[in-house]
Symmetry: C2
Subunit: 230 residues, 2 copies
DNA sequence: GCAAAAGTGTTGTACTTACACCCATGG
DNA sequence: CCATGGGTGTAAGTACAACACTTTTGC
């Protein structure tokens, strides 16, 4: 029994579109697909889907993320709602964009074939359908702010990472070079990383030590009124 | 002619809710109303409305703002989309929140009677319907970030303002006291304000000089790679 | 032995913070 | 003449930016 106040108002299709970020080979990538349906079939597009009756926006986004990555508990944040009248040329659709940070090392490449998906360097983005370029732009701006104030960047890694990789990732997100010694000094003063015994010998002969982010120490850090900053 | 891909997907009511901020007597206020309809009739609520067929989200928000303030060209920014399944107990509604900054000095008090609206100090917010308290909280956080990095605060004033009033407003938004001399020094180094000849004698015997924000100088300021910061 | 990436400190500069007194005016 | 709010400068501490060489090791 719906109250009268709600009756006779327009109803809309609602989509969620996900900007799925991943990091590999010193570059920030976005997972894109060739749009499988008309209109604009085969054009580059973000991963998306329609919202269903009994799910929340975040649940709808989680479903999209799971479908295209087979990963659970993906770090995700809403970017914005996009509601221009002709933004989708197929029908009137309001879209809510989310960005997500995934561990690209765990990515199952068979999924890529199944969904005609590809990881594209954010610096080399093609023209995307509708307002998806704007969504990526907005997501990246929000991500820049977020990683500078909250330790969300560690969601790109599966537990451990090296300092050179971490710095490369910050540089890819900020799209600017950073000073190695200043970067490590700032990290050091926060004292939130644990140096592991093992080294990554993949990217250099000497090898770089792995580190891991210490969540317990971060809780203490916060409770002392300190704030993450990079 | 709607393509098949879009057919058979659920359609939703979409609302816009506006967090209308105003500044008076050293305090930040939000314009609230007594909800005029069931359910939760007469409970405190943000100003809102349903989105219609041929309008964008921002257009829908502009309509709400114009309806309740009779002002045009109001500074406005999207906060987020809210889509929990049971957020509105009357029916399934997805809401997109916008915050707006209005010149409270120009506010027509007859509107308050017409819409049963009141300016409430943000520090004394009552319990609002649905998730509206969350929306105000999110809007305020976003506003805090915005006024610290962009000169949007001047949208609270009609052309001119005094430095004590400007500082009071920042303090109300940040919800913390600021040092008078440091505040004025930082403003001074940006050199974006014009000191006017006239004084405001309302709030003190001595009177405080009025200033105005110089947009042309701000453009130059930006083109020199500088960034607003307070 | 050399190329390639990892690791490590210091110094000058700019910014941030803390702080106290005189001024102008209306009543 | 006094209460009220407006206006002003300096010094210490902190954060930031710039900068170059040594180490390790696979080839």
């Amino acid at each position: 029994m719906i109250p009268t106040y709600y009756e006779n108002n327009a109803h809309f299709l609602i989509a969620v579109d996900c900007i799925i970020f991943g990091f590999r080979k010193k570059e920030l990538h976005v997972l894109l697909t060739r749009r499988p349906v008309e209109p604009l079939k085969n054009e580059w597009s973000l991963m998306g889907g329609f919202m269903e009756e009994n799910e929340s926006l975040t649940r709808a986004a989680e479903k999209v993320l799971y479908r295209y990555t087979q990963q659970k508990n993906i770090y995700m944040e809403q970017v914005a709602a996009y509601g221009e009248v002709n933004r989708d040329i197929g029908d009137r659709v309001i879209s809510v964009a989310f960005y997500a940070l995934v561990k690209m090392e765990n990515f199952d490449t068979s999924l890529a074939r199944k969904f005609d998906a590809r990881w594209i360097n954010v610096k080399e983005l093609p023209r995307l359908v509708f307002d998806h370029n704007q969504m990526v732009y907005d997501a990246l701006r929000l991500l820049q702010y977020k990683v500078s104030t909250k330790p969300v960047i560690f969601n790109f890694f599966d537990e451990k990472f090296t300092l050179p990789a971490l710095q490369d990732l910050y540089e890819a997100i900020y799209q600017m070079p950073m000073d190695k010694r200043n970067f490590r000094k700032k990290l050091g003063t926060m004292d939130l990383l644990d140096k592991l015994e093992i080294k990554d010998k993949e990217s250099s002969k000497r090898g770089a030590y792995f580190y891991s982010f210490n969540r317990e120490r971060y809780e203490v850090f916060l409770s002392e009124g300190k704030r993450f900053s990079l």
